[in-house]
Structures are given as structure tokens and as C-alpha cells.
């Protein structure tokens, strides 16, 4: 296995032997590596003495864990009730169009953005809402999307 283990091992050492550690461990490993690869989960299983099936079971249960490489910036589009009745579908369409995402794809070809649908961001009064990394943008219209993507140095035309 080709792993740069040193930083991973440091994370593992922090959680080894602690009860209820699996989820925070996976969260931290994902922060470190961007996603949870099969190799990484296998390695965690050996190091933590937890069956690989259990790790995989947890990783697939929670929507936050990603099993594929992610874009540099994560766009979370809120699909909550308030956003839904305020036109979230139009925002989603505009995002897909501007990111040139084919059906079923989540990450742009250049790896700049990953688009995720989330249940509710809790900013319902500003619906419809998206969140890019830790920044929230509210009261959106499909037309406002290009200017927001531009803030993240996204070259829309080149795609």
C-alpha cells in the first residue's frame, strides 16, 4: 500500500483506545485526505482493530463521508422545505449549467468544485440558500449564481 502514513498515524494515535472514536476519526481522516479511499479504510481497520466492514458500514451510512475524491471547493445546495418552495430547483439547474456538470456527476472535470445536495442549512429565512465551503449565500436567483462562482476563481468560460 502506498501511503504517506505519518500524518495519518498521528490522527490514529489520537483516537486509539477511545470509546466512540470511529466517527470523529473518520471525520478527521477525511479532512486530511479529502475523502475516504478503500486503502485508507483498510489501513484504519488494521490499525484500530475494527473490522473493515464496520468502518465501511459507518462511512456509507452518514452523508458527510465521501468515498470519491472531492473538488477543491464544496458547494452545498440546500434542499430544505423553505428553499424548495422558494425555487431551489432553479438554483440547482443554474449551478449544474454553470459548472457544466453532466447528469450523475458531482465534481467538475477540473476538480475545482463538488456539488452536494443537503437537507437543510438552517438559514430558511434567506431561502434559497447555498453554502460554499464555510460561506453562506442567501436570497439567490438562478442569475446570481455566476457572480458567486466567480468569487472562487472559477473560470467558467474555459470549461
Amino acid at each position: 500500500m502506498q501511503h504517506a502514513h505519518s500524518s495519518l498515524d498521528a490522527v490514529i494515535a489520537k483516537y486509539r483506545g477511545k470509546k466512540g472514536a470511529l466517527i470523529p476519526l473518520l471525520q478527521e481522516v477525511q479532512d486530511l485526505e479529502g475523502f475516504l479511499s478503500q486503502n485508507t479504510m483498510q489501513y484504519l481497520s488494521e490499525q484500530m482493530q475494527v473490522p473493515a466492514a464496520e468502518i465501511f458500514g459507518v462511512a456509507t451510512f452518514y452523508s458527510m463521508f465521501r468515498l470519491k475524491p472531492q473538488g477543491k471547493h464544496i458547494i452545498r445546495i440546500c434542499k430544505g422545505t423553505a428553499c424548495h418552495v422558494s425555487g431551489a430547483n432553479g438554483i440547482l439547474g443554474s449551478l449544474k449549467e454553470n459548472l457544466h456538470l453532466p447528469e450523475g456527476e458531482e465534481t467538475t472535470a477540473d476538480g475545482h468544485f463538488t456539488l452536494m445536495e443537503v437537507a437543510c442549512l438552517g438559514c430558511c429565512s434567506l431561502a434559497p440558500v447555498i453554502m460554499i465551503d464555510d460561506q453562506t449565500f442567501g436570497k439567490l436567483t438562478p442569475e446570481s449564481i455566476p457572480a458567486i462562482l466567480d468569487k472562487f476563481a472559477y473560470d467558467r468560460e474555459a470549461k
Partner: protein, 589 residues
């Protein structure tokens, strides 16, 4: 001379509306001009529709609160205040809209939200100055059973939605045998359309923490968890700061206030699973497992986290405790109805004028919440329904607007009180689409353990999708009803037991809308795209070609300055032509 204070609301909603920019502009200006002005942060006061909100105070002219503050104008506004000039009346909240804001606040009773948007949530001193941690001091001098009795007599019921008596729940955990006990705060606020817990944690984290310490003392727990959604980064940040500060001050940790009582509090971040709001699933998640519910009994009070007696309450429930200890059960009971005492926090969203966070006494009518506190509808479109209780709740129609807010009255409508999300819908909302939206949600979030929940919700979603796409048949309504009954009976936890509610309530109150979709193949609200038809009105079309150029499938034909025509067979009903046309020449039907 009084200190001049400038407060900026920097909750999640404020930040999304541009509050950070307003704050930075003020900070730069105050330091560069060397003003003796104190700049403070606060969280959400609840008037999210007016964000960013800034308050100036300290001058003899009194305090003034400004709404929708433009970062470009905020310096000028501050200058006006400092120099005693007239401030632009358009931004002063108290003067806007003929006193709507005064009415908004007058109809509220703020117990849980008393500090939200008032104090700096990152400062424990600010919390102490507003009476913080005096309830804990008082509680530690009380008998443990006396605290539980007080909570019982207050009539407080679980604000997470089910409405079980909090005092009873505490007494079960108190009575459970075991040397190790846990208390948990459920902050996994997953209902789409709800943000009460986020605002409370962002705006007044110490109030929740103090409530938990009191509860832990009363029940004999020495360790606690706050299980918070990872989608709420600001709430988590404020909680971490608060726990650190409370530990420093000796409100948490060993030998609290010298009374020989220890309490350790942790934050556990959720990883994105709606079902973890269910208490047994939540505990499984804290233990690091897949968050799947287990059969009760045993109830958490006997065998909960790691098999130890555990008490779980929701954020808002915990946030009521300090007030009850300080003011007594009798004072709390003065608010509300006989069986539902106190207040309830609601998150108003959707097509309502004053979207935001409010706290009203139980017993108020839904009509008053929407029209007096919420300011009525956002646009000229009339009211159609209000969705209460998220995916477990239901849609209440106009004819039931005089239903009062208490657990039992709302249950009678087929909806539930839920945690307090209130999404207002106007005639531009399709109720079949809303039902489909919620079933899509529950179908996605079902953990998969119970067959009826796992497969039954999927079947319901398929039927609803067919109806919204014009493929519905009359028997579908009976099938939906039959599935609903079986899913309710055949599911272990609240997720499955309540999943059919959005369908059952819309069927009960808006059946004619289902029939319009099924029989007439028509969506009366004009939402379901497959049932829409776009047509160009020859008398209005000037042949500008804008629509034809915008059409993604090139199905609009016509020469320049000639009437255009849409090829209905190829039209994908995306609506691009409709929004592009500047001459209202395209009809949506």
C-alpha cells in the same frame, strides 16, 4: 458619559446577508478614526428578514436598531448617530412599516430566546451579567428531587416534538440504578425548514449548558454530550468557546462551585443522518456506530449510552430550565394552556413577510402567529397552507388557521407540533409536490432497518412522482392510504411512524389537487413541470427571437419580427423562454 456601543448581529443568517462586511467596515472605521466606541458581536435576534441588523446605543437619544444595513452606508449611519443627526427613517426598524416590528415583539414572550441577539454569545461575562449561572447556584442549594419536582410542576414538555413531560423523564433517570449516568442534548436539528436550535446555540450557548449542568446534578449524571449537526459550524464554535469558558470559571469540571459535584461536557459532531435525531439512533451514533434505532424498552433512562441510564432532551427543552429554576414553576405555568405550558419557539419561513425566529406563548392561534407576529404573506398571493413539524408533520389549511398552538390541538389536525419549523405556503405551492418533496426526504433518510419504512416510503414516492408527472391513476390514492397505514404500523421509530403524515394531511385537506393532477392532468399551482404547457401568444409576440436563442433544445421557431411557435413535442418545459420573454408573450398553463 455612557459607553457608546455598536452591536452587529452575526448569526448564520446575518452572515449570509452580509453582516461580516458590515462588521469589518465598522471595525476599520472605529480603529482608524480612533473612536471611543465599543463594537460588539451578537447573534440572531430573530428578525432574519431584516438582516444585517445593527444597533447603536449609549447616547442620551437612546438606542436605535437598524435593519437591512448596507455595508456601504453603515459608516454614514454611525456618524449620523454620533453627531445627533436624523438617521434615515427607512433603516430604523421601529419606524418601518407602521410599527410592524413593535407588534412583532409585543406578541412574543421570550424565555428561551431572552438573550439571543442581545448578548455576545462568545462572552461568558456577558452571560453572567444577564443573570447567567445564578440558576445553577440556586439549584446546587436545592434538594435533587426538589429540582425535578419544580420541572415537573412547570408542565414543561419535550420541545423536540413528542411532548413528553420533561419532569417525568428526569424522574425516571433519577430513579434508575447505576453509578454512572449521562445527560445528552439533542442538537441534531434535521427537519428541513427548522432552525430554532441553531439560533439558540449560536445566540445563547451558556443557557443550554447551564440547563444541562442543573439536569445532570438533579439526575446524578457526571458526564454529558451535546450532539450537534456538523452543518452548524457557528453553533459548534460558540459551544466550544462556551464550554472552555465555563470550565475555566469552574461551572464545569470537578467540584462545581465547591459543592462536590463533577460534570464533564463533550460536543459530538453529527455526520449527516436525519434518523440520528431519534434518541436510540443518536446514542448509537455517539458510540461510533451506524445510527440505527433500537427497540424501546429498554428506555434510555434505564439503559442508554453504553448501557448506562441516560436522559436526552432537545436544545429548546434544556434552554427552558434556567428560567424555570429562577422564576419557579408557577411563573412558567402562567404562560400557555392547561396541558401545554410555557412558550414555543418557531422558525417562520417560506412565503411569509417576517421570516425568522419567534417565541410565543402556547395557546396562541396559528392565525395570530402568521398574521400578527409573522406579518402575513410575503407577496400578493394568498395563503394556502402552513407546514408544521417537517417530514413528520403535516400541512394545515386556511380553514384550520384558528387552531391553537398546543400539542394536543395540533395533533388533532393530523400535523404535529414538531420541533417548531413553520413553513408558510401560498397558492403558488403545489401540495402534491410538497408531499412528494417530504417523501423523497424520508425515503432518503430511512435507515433501512424496517421493511415498511425502507420499501414502503419508496413505493409512496414512486406513486407521488407518477402523479406529479401526469401518470397517476385514481387507484393511486387508495394505494397511498393503504401504504400509509402499514408504514405507520410496521416501523420501529418515529421516522417511519410519522413519514406518511405529509401525504395523509395533504390528501385530507387538498384532495381536489390530487384529483386535478390525476384526472385532468393539470397542476393548479403551476409547479409540476411535466404537466405544464408553454404557449406563445401571437398578439403579444414581437418576434425578438430572445426565447428561441435561450431554448436549450431549439424547439422554438419563427423568423425575426414574426410570431414564434413552440414545438410542443420537443419542449422540455424548462421555462427558460418564459423567464426570458420581456413582453409577457408566453403563457404558462
Amino acid at each position: 458619559m455612557n459607553e457608546i456601543i455598536v452591536k452587529v448581529g452575526v448569526g448564520s443568517c446575518g452572515l449570509a446577508a452580509g453582516a461580516a462586511e458590515v462588521y469589518n467596515k465598522l471595525q476599520d472605521y472605529i480603529s482608524s478614526a480612533a473612536l471611543t466606541v465599543k463594537l460588539k458581536k451578537t447573534a440572531c435576534i430573530g428578525m432574519c428578514f431584516e438582516e444585517p441588523i445593527v444597533e447603536f446605543s449609549g447616547l442620551e437619544s437612546g438606542a436605535v436598531t437598524l435593519g437591512k444595513v448596507d455595508p456601504e452606508h453603515v459608516i454614514g449611519l454611525l456618524d449620523d448617530y454620533l453627531m445627533g443627526n436624523q438617521i434615515d427613517a427607512n433603516v430604523i426598524l421601529a419606524e418601518k412599516q407602521d410599527g410592524v416590528h413593535n407588534e412583532l415583539l409585543q406578541n412574543q414572550v421570550r424565555i428561551v430566546l431572552r438573550n439571543c441577539g442581545v448578548i455576545d454569545p462568545e462572552s461568558i461575562e456577558a452571560y453572567e451579567a444577564s443573570g447567567g449561572y445564578t440558576a445553577l447556584r440556586k439549584a446546587l442549594d436545592m434538594e435533587r428531587l426538589q429540582i425535578i419536582q419544580e420541572v415537573k410542576e412547570s408542565g414543561l414538555r419535550g420541545r423536540g416534538g413528542a411532548g413528553f413531560s420533561t419532569g417525568m423523564k428526569w424522574s425516571f433517570c433519577y430513579g434508575a440504578k447505576g453509578d454512572k449516568k449521562y445527560v445528552i442534548c439533542n442538537a441534531d436539528e434535521g427537519d428541513p425548514g427548522a432552525f430554532m436550535d441553531r439560533s439558540v446555540l449560536e445566540g445563547d450557548p451558556h443557557n443550554v449548558i447551564e440547563g444541562m449542568i442543573i439536569g445532570a446534578y438533579a439526575m446524578g449524571a457526571d458526564e454529558g454530550y451535546i450532539y450537534c449537526r456538523a452543518e452548524y459550524p457557528l453553533a459548534i464554535k460558540h459551544l466550544k468557546i462556551a464550554i472552555e469558558a465555563a470550565t475555566q470559571k469552574g461551572y464545569l469540571g470537578k467540584n462545581i462551585m465547591g459543592k462536590g459535584f463533577d460534570f464533564l461536557l463533550h460536543i459530538k459532531e453529527g455526520a449527516g443522518a436525519f434518523v440520528c435525531g431519534e434518541e436510540t439512533a443518536l446514542m448509537a451514533s455517539i458510540e461510533g456506530k451506524r445510527g440505527m434505532p433500537t427497540i424501546r424498552p429498554p428506555f434510555p433512562a434505564e439503559s442508554g449510552l453504553w448501557g448506562k441510564p441516560t436522559n436526552i432532551n432537545n436544545v429548546e427543552t434544556w434552554a427552558n430550565i434556567t428560567w424555570i429554576i429562577l422564576n419557579g414553576a408557577d411563573a412558567y405555568q402562567k404562560y400557555g394552556t392547561e396541558k401545554s405550558t410555557g412558550t414555543k419557539v418557531f422558525a417562520l419561513a417560506g412565503k411569509i413577510a417576517n421570516s425568522g425566529l419567534i417565541e410565543v406563548p402556547m395557546g396562541i392561534t396559528i392565525r395570530d402567529v402568521i398574521y400578527k407576529v409573522g406579518g402575513g404573506m410575503k407577496t400578493e398571493l394568498p395563503f394556502k397552507a402552513v407546514q408544521l413539524g417537517g417530514p413528520s408533520g403535516g400541512c394545515i389549511p386556511a380553514s384550520l388557521l384558528d387552531t391553537i398552538v398546543d400539542y394536543d390541538s395540533i395533533n388533532k389536525t393530523g400535523a404535529i407540533m414538531g420541533s417548531g419549523g413553520m413553513v408558510v405556503m401560498d397558492t403558488g405551492t403545489c401540495m402534491v409536490d410538497v408531499a412528494r418533496f417530504f417523501l423523497n426526504f424520508t425515503q432518503n433518510e430511512s435507515c433501512g432497518k424496517c421493511t415498511f419504512c425502507r420499501i414502503g416510503t419508496r413505493r409512496m414516492l414512486e406513486i407521488l412522482t407518477a402523479i406529479t408527472e401526469g401518470r397517476g391513476v385514481l387507484e393511486d390514492i387508495e394505494k397511498l392510504e393503504a401504504l400509509a397505514v402499514n408504514i405507520i404500523k410496521g416501523s420501529l421509530c418515529g421516522l417511519g411512524q410519522t413519514a406518511p403524515n405529509p401525504v395523509l394531511t395533504t390528501l385530507r385537506y387538498f384532495k381536489e389537487e390530487y384529483l386535478a393532477h390525476i384526472v385532468e392532468k393539470r397542476c393548479p399551482a403551476g409547479v409540476c413541470t411535466a404537466l405544464l404547457r408553454y404557449e406563445i401568444l401571437p398578439e403579444k409576440c414581437i418576434g425578438c427571437t430572445a426565447c428561441a436563442r435561450k431554448c436549450p433544445v431549439n424547439c422554438i421557431s419563427g423568423a425575426v419580427k414574426q410570431t414564434h411557435v413552440i414545438d410542443q413535442d420537443r419542449c422540455i418545459k424548462c421555462g427558460a423562454c418564459y423567464t426570458t420573454c420581456k413582453f409577457n408573450a408566453i403563457k404558462k398553463a
